[in-house]
C-alpha cells in the first residue's frame, strides 16, 4: 500500500502519516486496510479546531493512493518509479529562469581543439584558454587529457564535464587493461565515451577529439555532446573550430611528415587563437606514434606578456623586522622501527 506516497504539505500531515506508520506493525504480515486509514485520518480532522488543517488533510486524502494488492513494502524511502537520470529539477530551473533567476554560467573551455592523422600516427593540438562567461579564468589550462599510454583526448565544452568524463573513461580503460592484459584500443575509449554521453542526452556538455595509436593503426575520432561520433583524418572542435578548419581545408595534403603535421596543427590552433575570442594564450601539441607519445606542453607561446619590468616588482617595506628567531618544533611522535602499522 502506498501510504508513503502521501503528499506532505504541513507538519500536521506528517503527524498523521507517522500515526499510520505506527499502526502498521512490521511484525504482523498484514497491510493496513483502507478503512483503518480513513478512520485515523477522520479522528485527526475532528480533533483539530483549525479549518486550515482540515483543508490540507483533504488534500492529503486525495493524494493517498490505495492499491488493491497486498504486498509487503518495507521501504519508507521515496524512490522514483523508474531508474536513471531524474529530470525533476529541470522544470524548477526553467521556472526560475522565466522569473529572471539564471543559473551561474559554467566554466567553459571556449576552445580550439584539432586532431590530424599523419604518416606514422596522430597529432592532437589545443589552445590553453578557459573562460567563465566573458572572463578568462585560466590563461594556461590543459585541454589534452590522458586516457591511456597510447590514447589522448582533447576536450571542449564545459570544463568540469570534459575533465570528469575523460578521467572516468581513463580509469575504466586501465581496469580493462588489467582484465585483458593488452594495450587499450581507441575504439574502446570511443565506445565508452559515446555510451556515457548518449545516456545523458547531451546534458554532459563535452565535445571531444579522441586520438591514439593501437595495434590496428592510428585513429582519430570526434565525439559530440549528444553521443554521435565521426572517424576522420583531420578534425576540429570548439568555438574556434571554423577558423582552424579553414586552415586545415586549405593546407591539408596526404603523406604529411611529423614536422609538417606539427606545423599544420600549430597553424590551425594559432588561427583559432587569433581569430576566435573564446580561444587564446598558448598552443599545446601531443604527438602519438607506435613508439610512444610526446606531450609538448606550451609548444608555442605566441602571447607572452609584452611589458614586464626587468627589475621585477619590489614590494614596499611596511613594518620593520626587529628580531628573527627560529624555534624548532618538538617531536611528539615516536617512530617505531619495523612492523606494519596496518597489520593487526
Amino acid at each position: 500500500m502506498a501510504v508513503e506516497q502521501a503528499n506532505l504539505c504541513t507538519p500536521q500531515d506528517a503527524a498523521v502519516v507517522r500515526t499510520l506508520r505506527v499502526f502498521r506493525d512490521p511484525h504482523v504480515d498484514r497491510e493496513l486496510e483502507p478503512a483503518t486509514v480513513l478512520i485515523i485520518i477522520t479522528k485527526h480532522v475532528m480533533s483539530s479546531p483549525s479549518l486550515n488543517f482540515q483543508t490540507q488533510i483533504s488534500g492529503l486524502i486525495l493524494s493517498l493512493s490505495f492499491s488493491g494488492q497486498r504486498n509487503m513494502s518495507n521501504s519508507v524511502i521515496e524512490v522514483p518509479p523508474k531508474g536513471g537520470f531524474s529530470f525533476d529539477l529541470c522544470k524548477r530551473n526553467e521556472m526560475l529562469a522565466k522569473k529572471g533567476v539564471n543559473p551561474p554560467s559554467f566554466r567553459k573551455t571556449g576552445t580550439t581543439i584539432v586532431g590530424l592523422v599523419f604518416q606514422d600516427g596522430v597529432i592532437l593540438g589545443a589552445d590553453t584558454r578557459a573562460t567563465e562567461g566573458p572572463i578568462v579564468c585560466d590563461k594556461n589550462c590543459e585541454k589534452i587529457h590522458y586516457m591511456a599510454p597510447n590514447i589522448y583526448c582533447c576536450g571542449a565544452g564545459t570544463a568540469a564535464d570534459t575533465e570528469a568524463v575523460t578521467d572516468m573513461v581513463s580509469s575504466q580503460l586501465q581496469l580493462h587493461r588489467y582484465h585483458t592484459g593488452r594495450e587499450s584500443r581507441v575504439v574502446t575509449a570511443l565506445t565508452l565515451l559515446k555510451r556515457h554521453l548518449f545516456n545523458y542526452q547531451g546534458h554532459v556538455s563535452a565535445a571531444l577529439v579522441l586520438g591514439g595509436v593501437d595495434v590496428t593503426g592510428p585513429h582519430l575520432h570526434t565525439i559530440y555532446p549528444h553521443g554521435s561520433t565521426d572517424t576522420l583524418p583531420f578534425a576540429t572542435m570548439g568555438s574556434g573550430s571554423l577558423a582552424a578548419m579553414a586552415v586545415f581545408e586549405s593546407k591539408y595534403k596526404e603523406g604529411l611528415t611529423r614536422n609538417e603535421g606539427i606545423e599544420l596543427v600549430t597553424e590551425a590552433i594559432c588561427s583559432g587563437i587569433f581569430n576566435d575570442l573564446g580561444s587564446g594564450s598558448n598552443v599545446d601539441v601531443c604527438v602519438i606514434t607506435k613508439g610512444g607519445k610526446e606531450y609538448l606542453r606550451n609548444h608555442l607561446q605566441p602571447n607572452p606578456r609584452t611589458y614586464t619590468n626587468s627589475k621585477g616588482y619590489s614590494f614596499p617595506k611596511k613594518t620593520e623586522v626587529l628580531l628573527t628567531k627560529i624555534i624548532p618544533l618538538k617531536e611528539k611522535v615516536e617512530i617505531i622501527e619495523g612492523g606494519d602499522a596496518m597489520e593487526e
Binding site: 565521426d230 583524418p233 571554423l242 579553414a246 587569433f274
Partner: protein
Amino acid sequence: MNFMASKQPENSLLGPESDSQRTLYPYVTGTSVVALKYKDGILMAADMGGSYGSTLRYKNVERMKAIGKHSLLGASGEISDFQEILRYLDELILYDNMWDDGNSLGPKEVHNYLTRVMYNRRNKFNPLWNSLVLGGIKNGQKYLGTVSMIGVNFEDNHVATGFGNHLARPILRQEWHENLSFEDGVRLLEKCMRVLLYRDRSAINKLQIAKITEEGMTISQPYSLKTYWEFSAFENPTQGAVGSW
C-alpha cells in the same frame, strides 16, 4: 491572462501599420561575399546561389553590381532587399548625373549613403535584410567597406559577410599583404571560396569574381572551382574502427 502569442510586441508603438510591409524573416538568401584590396583596386567574389530556406532555388543570381563609375556592391542576405537597394542607388546615381558637374559619387560616398539607409531602416524596425560589401577606387584611392543589416559599418583591407567571416577572414588575415598582384589576389579569393564551398551548406560551386580599377568594372563569367575529394584517408575512414562511423 492573455495566452495568445502576439506577433506585435515591438510594433505596438506604431499603431495600425501592419507587418505586411516589414521584413521579418529572409526568404530567398544569398550566402557569403568575400572581397580584398589589391594593387590596382578591389577584387570581390560571390557565388551565384539564391537559397529558399534549405532548397537551392536559384542558381543564376548575380549578387555583385557596379554602382556608378567607381564602385562595386556585393550583397548577401535577402535578394529582394538587395534589388530594392539597387533601385535606391540607381536613383542616387541618376540624380548625381543630372547635376552634370563633372563630379561623380565615389565609393566612400556611396558607402556612407548605404550606412544611413540601413541604419534608418533598422531604427524603424523594418530592416533591409542584407550584409553589403562596397568596394571601389577613385583618384587612386582604394576603398573597401561593409555595412550590416543593423547599420554596423567599417572599412578594412579585406572583408567578408556571413560565413565568410568565420572561414575566410582567418585565411585573409594570415595571407593578405599590400600590393597583391591580380593573379595572387584571385588565387587568394579562390582559396577562401573553396573552403566556403567545402564547409558552408548554402554555397554552390558557381562563382563570379569582379574587379574594379580606375579603368572600370569587369565581372568574370560564372565558373566553378576545382575541388579535391580523393584523399585516401577519407575513402574508408572506419577501416580500423569497425562499427563506428
